[in-house]
């Protein structure tokens, strides 16, 4: 009886000791290796198009990334479009939903262009540009640095003389790439007789 009791006591003491040791270790680790901020926000942020346009209802891409991390819908980013939604869905392992039309439609890439003779040099667009892509100073003509412009639209509204146009990005030959072939859904017997594939060239 007493032997059995002592065995039980030893076991309890040993387990308690282990629990304490690991508890201390884990407690120390959780303090020592604490990760500042939410790393998932960075990952989401890196997938967003960084136009800082605010169409999602957040004042920039990072706040939306924080929103998504907190459980917001992933389909509120029109500039990113379906590609971004797909990427976010893959990252977060959620269902990819179609773009929420409430926040706008996915449009072709745009770039802001200032009609320079009409610019009065008020610097309002410069203040509005979230990425400093507009050059100019007070009472001097402004111009958009095309390679930096994300086409976020934010400079259009503050312009007092409405001299900023959003134009589609010029798809030069360098940007062109092949289209995907159209999917056909046919079987062998659908083919016309004689249309066999003997050395046919695509």
């Amino acid at each position: 009886m007493s032997i059995a009791l002592s065995v039980i006591l030893t076991a309890i003491v040993a387990l308690l000791g282990l629990a304490l040791a690991f508890g201390t270790l884990l407690g120390f680790a959780s303090v020592r290796f604490k990760v500042e901020g939410n790393p998932i926000v960075d990952e989401i942020d890196s997938l967003l198009p960084q136009t800082q346009c605010g169409q999602c209802g957040h004042p920039g891409c990072r706040p939306y990334a924080e929103g998504i991390a907190a459980g917001e819908d992933i389909n509120k980013c029109p500039p990113g479009g379906e590609t971004t939604i797909q990427a976010l869905a893959d990252l977060l392992d959620v269902e990819a939903t179609p773009l929420d039309a409430e926040h706008g439609e996915e449009k072709a890439k745009m770039v802001a262009v200032i009609r320079e003779p009409e610019c009065i040099g008020c610097t309002k667009c410069i203040q509005a540009c979230p990425i400093d892509a507009i050059l100019g100073s007070a009472k001097h003509m402004h111009t958009v640095i095309e390679s930096e412009c994300t086409g976020c639209d934010l400079c259009v509204e503050p312009c007092p003389v409405d001299c900023i146009d959003m134009v589609p990005v010029d798809q030069g030959i360098g940007d062109w790439h092949w289209n995907s072939p159209k999917d056909t859904n046919i079987i062998a017997t659908d083919r016309a007789p004689g249309m066999t594939n003997t050395g046919a060239i695509h």
Partner: protein, 847 residues
Amino acid sequence: MTSTHASKIIASTRDLSDFHGGIHPQEMKSLSNQTAISKAALPPKLILPLQQHIGNASKVMVDIGQQVLKGQLLAEADGFVSVNLHAPTSGTIESISEQAIAHPSGQSDLCLTLIPDGQDQWCALSPSEDVTQLSNSEIQAKVRQAGIAGMGGAGFPTDIKLQPPKHANIEILILNAAECEPYITSDDRLLRERADEVVAGLNIVASVLQTTTCLIGIEDNKPEAIAALKAATQDSNIEICVIPTKYPSGGEKQLIKILTGKEVPSGKLPADIGIVCQNVGTVAAIYRAVRFGEPLISRITTLTGLQVQQRGNVEVLLGTPINWLLSQYGYQAAKRERLIMGGPMMGFTLTDTEIPVVKTTNCILAPNEKELPLAPPAQACIRCGLCADACPAELLPQQLYWFARGQEYEKAEHHNLFDCIECGACSFVCPSSIPLVQYYRHAKGEIKHQRADQQKSDQARVRFEARQQRLENEQAEKAAKRKARAEAAAKAQAAKKLAESQTTVIDSAKPEATQAAPIQADLKSQTEPTIDVVDLSELKTAWDEAQSKLDKMYDALDAAKENNPEQITKLSRAVEKNQMRVNQTKQAWQKASTKAGSETKTAIVTQTENETKAESQNASEETNKPDLAALETAYEKADSKLAKLENALANAKPEQVEKLTRAVDKNKDRVATAKAEFEAAQQALNQTDKADAPVLEAPVDIPALELAFEKADSKLAKLENALANAKPEQVEKLTRAVDKNKDRVASAKAELEAAQQALSQTDKADAPVLEAQIDIPALELAFEKADSKLAKLENALANAKPEQVEKLTRAVSKNQDRVKAAQDELEQARLNVAAATTTPVNESGTQ
């Protein structure tokens, strides 16, 4: 088919390897390799695209309408990876415009249009009799000058291939004469007819690269070309490697594998493993460029396909429109016209027939429908695996197909999509005729596009974060400046108060004196001298203090002159003011000292009486005062809360607006009630005051009223400012706020004026001397304030933006009026004082 050639050829001494996969399509070379190279006639116009190569488009060096000579530089290489472009013949530049170019997209690009004048007159060239005498850099410069780009199809600038990176030790030079693609025979014919030029060019390249081994890889289906090469290389150590015919043995990596057994690692260049490959046409062009100084202005192109009658190879000027060229060689457009630039495996269908021949055009294929049928519609993939067997890059085409189709580009990349050379072998063997290569090309394009987007978004993020940081820094700087200014202002205020307390000492000297008066009234004979002594000493200290302050200011001014010149004007004004003050105190002291004897006791007595009366009334009023003050603070608190809320409302998000509006309304009510209560209390007080102590009420009330008026005025100014900078949706609200504040300012002003009037009336009746004396410092203060405000405004006006100028000008003029008014008042008050002091006996006598 290949075995027939193989029997005729002496096997190379070199051990050849084989590459994985490959196919054996119908060669169709005999269609075009039977006739000698002919020279195409001079076309009526030449279209010269500025981008015929990989890299940056060339920069135009000529003007429209300019006469150019054959071989003249038309467009210059723009950057390292770019090539020159020369005039293929003499003539006039007709236009520089967008025209359709040889590109699978069918898009247009900038082209020069040259109208030949028929003279075909060369510009001055710089030939070299002995190319062995030239240094490497001279050869490289000549090649770059000649504008040669890889003529096998890719169009990579050749001069870059002649300057391999320093770390790469090029050991093997390979001449790619495999020409594995069906139909094309331009290299074959070139070797047969001009093997000497090719070998000379190869020797030049070998000498530049200082390679130890020089190989020629040629398929065994070109025995005549092999024979010609053998003849040309008899005395050299160039090794001719005859390889079995198999598509795509002409692929750079595949040829390297066959000849050397080495594999070019994924994502690397042949130069990284010490090998450089050159195309036959390219080395011939290098020879002509180095030996004769001729730029690349023509090339040999195969015209073939059953729709062309006189099939064969032509030496054609770059820029010759294809439809014109074909029409010269008996081309009949088929019902469903299809023209292919390049071979049947890797070429692309042209969308426009007026596309020019460019540096990379090795073949123009005009097949009929039977000869080269269109691919039948694709069927489902049956996972037969034939494509994997055929793939020369040892990829898994089937997997790549699924990933590309399912847009799983990341997985496709992991399966080495970018090692695909797009040779078309997989599509060729596919029993379901799936256009596999097109899927891969699309996937590659998409991935590149996404990479570019990612890069752009990263760049945008960096810029955005930099901007945020900058704005934060600016904010912090501004806050620090504001704090510093506030501290300075507080210090100045404290100094002013000190000065004021010094000046009020003069005033308080009198009450003190009056307190002493009753006793002194009894002791008539002794009092007068003592009062004068007290008064005079006080005045003297005030003067001294003012003088020392002035000295300090002079010091500060001197320091400012050295350090910050923008403060000089401010300081000098302050100095002037202090000078004035010193003078005043001095005068006061002198007057007091001269008047000490004439000052009568009766005046003092009256003052004492006034004072005691005032004190008794003051005590009775004391009961009302706390209530009023509490009410006032309550009102002010409520008002500031309201302002804060209104502010929040202006900046609020749409979902919060309703809530805030309600809060604002509630607070407005609260403010209104607080105001009403306060006003009621004030009125009650006023009435009691009017009845009881008109003299005392006014001095108490006026500063408070003035303060309120100024507060209201500054708030109005702030609001007007906000209105100027406001967003359109806020304008209405702000306008209303401005109006409300204007009313408030007006009422405050009216109240103030009323109070002042009442005061002046009562003062005239009661105690002008005392009032005037109390009033003067206050007026002076007001004047100074107004003056400094005016200066600030004028400063702001100087720095203002154009749209603000009007408003500021108005503000300035208003303030100027105010300053003038303050000055007038001040002078009036001084006059009053002077009048009062000169006739104190009479005035007090009426009491």
